[in-house]
């Protein structure tokens, strides 16, 4: 509960940083709005006045905060729709993508990590870790284009772009999930190896338990703590990666919206997307903290 209350100053701090950063960037929303159609100096001055962008920084920020605390994030300067509406429209697609990617990265990462740990030192281990090194190093836009090339163009199995339904979700989820899977595989392998070296594992084996039971029931559960922590942090990385994936696959989502809004210096929209993303990140990490208790009963929360 205390942690939830702490959210408020965190979010206010974030909003001030974002507002300040956008203010310091050269140019403003009007320059971007008129970038395609141009405008005379008089037009620019008129629009700046009409949008209130000619007011001092603190006054603009105060106006924003006083509205925001009442749940009114204003209208996008560019799209002219309420920011909350835009977020509501885009959020489901991003959640869908990040959750699917999370599933992919956990499933793939865990199984690869376990295999590598059990077969530690063998060629399987080396191969798995090399693949995961490639996965970590490859930029998302590049793996995305490669997947499109293979599965949409060559094989024609999956659509290259779009939102809605399962088929257009597969490639983006794998693109985004692969980089996460690589990291999770490495962490799983190293923490599992560490646990497998412990005394109680030796005891379990000495009792004559099947190797499968030893690994899955005794060792893995203890190894999960560090894996879960990484998964929580990965969620933030996935949100960041969603920006790129959403662009490459032409998907809906707040990542794309945030990128566009930053480019256009559409500050109400940037505020909205950043606040929602930070909120999601903080909440997921809260959940991660709470889940420690499940994996390690020694951890209790008051």
């Amino acid at each position: 509960m205390r942690r939830l209350v702490l959210l408020v100053p965190i979010l206010i701090g974030i909003s001030f940083l974002v507002f300040g950063a956008l203010y310091l960037v050269p140019g403003d929303a009007i320059d971007s709005l008129l970038a395609e159609t141009g405008g005379s100096a008089a037009d620019i001055a008129r629009l700046r006045r009409e949008f209130g962008l000619d007011r001092p920084f603190l006054e603009q920020y105060a106006t924003f905060v006083s509205r925001a605390v009442r749940g009114d994030f204003g209208r996008s300067l560019r799209l002219r729709i309420p920011v909350t509406d835009a977020l509501r429209e885009q959020m489901p697609a991003t959640l869908e993508l990040t959750l699917a990617a999370l599933v992919v990265s956990i499933a793939l990462g865990l199984s690869l990590g376990i295999v590598a740990a059990i077969k530690s030192g063998s060629w399987i281990d080396t191969l798995t870790m090399m693949v995961s090194l490639v996965g970590v190093s490859m930029p998302i836009f590049w793996s995305g284009l490669l997947l499109i090339f293979l599965f949409s163009l060559r094989l024609g199995w999956l659509p290259a772009a779009g939102t809605g339904g399962l088929a257009p979700l597969v490639l983006p989820a794998f693109t985004l999930g692969l980089s996460g899977a690589a990291i999770i595989a490495r962490v799983t392998r190293s923490s599992l190896l560490e646990v497998l070296g412990r005394d109680y594992v030796r005891t379990a084996r000495a009792k004559g338990l099947a190797e499968r039971v030893v690994v899955m029931q005794h060792a893995l559960r203890n190894a999960m703590i560090s894996v879960i922590t990484i998964v929580g942090l990965q969620f933030g990385a996935l949100l960041g990666g969603a920006v790129v994936v959403e662009v490459v696959f032409g998907r809906q989502g707040i990542g794309f919206l945030a990128a566009e809004s930053i480019r256009m210096q559409d500050f109400p929209m940037v505020q909205g997307t950043v606040l929602v993303a930070s909120l999601a990140f903080v909440i997921v990490n809260l959940l991660v903290d709470l889940s420690y208790g499940f994996f390690d009963p020694r951890i209790r929360y008051q």
Partner: protein, 540 residues
């Protein structure tokens, strides 16, 4: 056989386009026996950017118009030759001083929501554009010094301006001055931006942001533009716009059959797709500035007229078109306005491309090579800064130009930044060369780009105050006599080139690729940037 035929066709294509015609290089021209238009069907069309909104009074994005052009009609229409004819207005009268325009409106036209189209609807639109709470970004720029609109009778409307506005007729053919339903604007208020209601051949159905915009046929439509191929309702039942920002993914979506047609085909892809019988590639030249480089007349070393003249000789538009645009975007033969514009003047003989001549000019002006091969004069190094948006085509152009400049002892630094940062840097004159391209019909817009009042806080990036150019641009904006007006703009363009403030590169193009079965999907005349689905049908 097909392949060879299409190879032959590509020559007249160049010639036609140079004449200022947006031409569909239709495989249909060379293709199967024509079967008549068949009603029904749907086309999905992918573009690179989503519209901001579908309210033409308010918005400014060029990408809005891909959709709004299907939903709204304009008072007037312009055909490919530049001739203006009636559309929602049947006839018009203009006062000799070009301040008062009277339009007789077409009867029996209805908005998609059933609201009758009449003089009050026109007035509601024009008044809304200039209202401060609308915060109009683009349409307001086409309205000149607007005074008021009077409803003379239900089908006669009179628009008054406080200063002569000779560009108004041409501007009325622009989708940006399309007519929206007054009832819907009233009903939706600020949310009209995503609830558009027009009189056009297609009606708005739904918009899933970042995914699709769906339009359906307006069955009552019977008032198409004079240049259209047929009358009555559109053939297609449905048009679906999809957004695929990444160029490679967009081309892939077409090739895999997921999408029926795509816009903004990159020149290198267009060059390949043109000879592939699966696609019709439609290449249109856009009116406006074309792709030009604006030269800063204030910042050294381009404050030296000799340096600017040398740059003009270094630019070789034919090579630029070939190297940077794979010959799909054609060489710019004017100085500012591109060839589909009635005010285009061919100035290609002014500075024949010659690296030797450029070198000679610099030598005569006292620019001497330093130890590193870069010229110096009076302590100033011949080092140019280019500031522009990152795009493969402009980057290739500048790299090619940089290599040529090296030969004559001039160094070029390429700075590519984000929109806002570029703009501020160019406003403050941190560049020697700035890349620019704007689409517009009436040359009155040149004032925004080249009048000294717009230097520093606007879009004038040559920054030098040239009283002669300022004067012409002021006169041109209000000159009622068409012949005199044409002369004024010819003079202004000639001077901008001769003074070396503008270096033309290529015309701006929009290349669209369609499945071969799609017929008569044209690019909107004369603006040429977006498809017009009214005549289009899918051959079966």
């Amino acid at each position: 056989m097909m392949q060879r035929l299409r190879g032959v066709l590509s020559r007249p294509f160049d010639v036609l386009a140079a004449l200022g015609l947006a031409v569909g290089l239709a495989a249909g021209l060379a293709g199967a026996a024509p079967s008549g238009p068949t009603p029904g069907g749907s086309i999905s069309y992918a573009t690179n950017r989503e519209p901001d909104m579908l309210d033409v009074n308010v918005g400014s994005s060029r990408y809005d118009r891909w959709v709004t052009a299907q939903i709204y009609d304009q008072l007037l229409a312009m055909d490919r030759s530049g001739k203006i004819s009636g559309w929602l207005a049947e006839s018009w009268e203009v006062s000799p001083d070009r301040r008062v325009y009277t339009f007789k409106l077409r009867r029996g036209v209805e908005f998609h929501d059933g609201t009758p189209f009449n003089a009050a609807a026109v007035k509601a639109n024009f008044d809304r554009i200039v209202a401060p709470e609308t915060k109009s970004t683009s349409a307001i720029g086409l309205m000149g010094v607007y005074d008021r609109t009077e409803v003379v009778d239900p089908y006669t409307v009179r628009v008054r301006f406080k200063a002569p506005h000779p560009g108004f007729l041409a501007n009325l053919t622009d989708v940006t001055l399309g007519i929206q339903s007054p009832t819907a604007m009233q009903k939706f208020g600020a949310d009209y931006v995503r609830n558009p209601v027009g009189t056009g051949p297609f009606m708005f159905k739904e918009w899933q942001r970042r995914n699709r915009i769906v339009l359906v046929k307006n069955p009552k439509y019977n008032w198409g533009p004079a240049w259209a191929k047929h009358k009555g309702a559109a053939y297609l039942d449905e048009v679906v716009f999809r957004i695929i920002p990444e160029d490679g993914s967009r081309v892939a979506a077409l090739e895999s059959g997921q999408i029926d047609a795509i816009g903004r085909v990159p020149p290198q892809n267009a060059a390949v797709m043109r000879v592939d019988r699966r696609w019709n590639v439609v290449n249109s030249v856009l009116p406006g500035t074309g792709v030009i480089l604006v030269v800063n007349g204030r910042r050294p070393p381009t404050n030296d007229p000799a340096m600017r003249r040398a740059l003009e000789h270094v630019m070789n538009v034919d090579e630029a078109s070939r190297i940077a645009y794979f010959s799909q975007w054609f060489p710019h033969r004017g100085s500012v306005l591109s060839s589909p514009n009635p005010y285009f003047v061919n100035l290609s003989k002014t500075f024949p491309p010659s690296v030797q001549r450029a070198e000679q000019i610099l030598e005569e002006a006292g620019w001497r090579r330093g130890p590193d091969g870069i010229r110096v004069k009076g302590g100033v190094r011949a080092e140019l800064v280019y500031i522009g948006f990152p795009s493969p085509e402009t980057t290739r152009t500048m790299e090619w130009m940089g290599a040529n400049l090296r030969q004559i002892g001039v160094d070029l630094r390429i700075r590519e930044l984000e929109t806002g940062a570029i703009h501020r840097a160019r406003q403050q004159g941190e560049h020697n060369l700035a890349h620019l391209t704007f689409i517009f019909l009436d040359p009155g817009f040149l004032r925004t780009l080249f009048h000294s009042e717009n230097s520093g806080g606007g879009w004038n990036f040559y920054h030098e105050k040239d009283a002669q150019i300022d004067q012409w641009l002021e006169q041109g904006e209000t000159e009622p006599d068409p012949a005199k007006r044409a002369q004024i703009y010819a003079n202004a363009q000639k001077r901008l080139l001769e003074q070396g403030y503008v270096i033309p590169v290529v015309y701006q193009h929009q290349i669209s690729a369609h499945k071969a079965a799609i017929t008569d999907l044209i690019m909107y005349p004369v603006l040429g940037e977006y498809p017009y689905f009214y005549d289009a049908y899918v051959r079966r």
